[in-house]
């Protein structure tokens, strides 16, 4: 459906690369990676099933590109949500986390995909969007740490712990088996209280140092 603007055009598609990534995103978003095929993607774009191979080495490479676009979307969404909050505020960190949660609740199929362990050591493509997302988070935590008097050498540690928390919560809430165990738990409230307990703990331990 749709995408007819290119379907009956000329011999050359003109924007196949981007169209494939976008189509693939939508298809995976709706039905998961397992059922995603190059054939379907090509058909939806109105080209032959061999055409995608002019733009992507193989199926995995296309999926990899879709994952990159996912990190872009995630980064943009977090940035958007976070910008109005004061630099160094606790709310800025928590809002980032909440947005992270909401993003993957909207696109659950991509959670597994974007953080699967077996990411090839693919040096050919860029992938810079991935560390960027983490860096945004580290910056926010870093600013808060500075304000709260947390020593320099604990910043990355603190950021990692906060990220692990948010990530673990998402994973929990997306897993069908484990979800049953906490069906009545408000996920967003869970993150808030968790963050507060944790950040309180950091602050307390740092005040002892002074």
């Amino acid at each position: 459906m749709a995408k007819q603007q290119f379907a009956d055009r000329t011999y050359h598609h003109g924007a196949l690369h981007d169209t494939l990534i976008q189509s693939a995103w939508e298809m995976i978003d709706l039905h998961g990676v397992e059922s995603f095929t190059i054939v379907d993607a090509a058909q939806q774009a109105g080209v032959s099933k061999a055409a995608p191979y002019r733009h992507f080495r193989d199926r995995d490479a296309l999926i990899d590109a879709v994952v990159d676009s996912g990190f872009e979307k995630l980064g943009a969404m977090v940035q958007e949500a976070v910008q109005s909050y004061e630099t160094g505020s606790r709310e800025k960190i928590i809002t980032g986390g909440l947005t992270y949660i909401r993003f993957f609740h909207q696109h659950p199929a991509f959670f597994d995909l974007m953080f699967r362990g077996a990411s090839d050591e693919d040096t050919s493509t860029d992938h810079s969007t991935r560390p960027q997302c983490l860096q945004m988070h580290i910056d926010a935590v870093s600013a808060w740490c500075y304000r709260a008097g947390v020593p320099e050498d604990m910043v990355v540690d603190t950021a990692i712990k906060m990220w692990a928390t948010v990530h673990g919560i998402v994973s929990l809430s997306l897993n069908s088996t484990l979800r049953r165990a906490c069906v009545e738990t408000d996920i967003e409230e869970l993150l808030r209280s968790f963050s507060d307990t944790f950040l309180d703990g950091i602050e307390a331990s740092c005040q002892l140092l002074e």
Copy 2:
């Protein structure tokens, strides 16, 4: 290699169901799920490629059974590691978490697999090993909470948060992109300090209530 005890036996294999699960475990453990095929599994068991369909509806059903066996292994390993610790102790919880981390560092391919979100609502098979793993953890946290004077209605909440923490840490340490950000971080030490900060926070907030 191996499995010849059944290979040249009779027309009927005799233990194909379990053999397939075990072979599949090993193959996935070594090379990941994507490259796992029914054909290979059948060949390794010394049967035709159609034989597995007498025991499993399709490829996914076999993988699902392997995942169940994984939860069994995980549960056994945690139980083993934890049993010598005192009921209700903080160390018992942390040791459980450390074992969880070690298990998935030994079997990284199964982390994605065992916690993938799109687990079908398959009511046909058992799957009771999955909640069992979580229940063990909840019990340990529950015992600690009782000792620490944490009110009843905070127990599940606390257990979920601890689980999310451990799970997030594993996910972080297995992901190739994110691993780089914390390459010099000692994962096990990270869990210890995180747990201490968090559990201290819980204890402190509960003492205020008294």
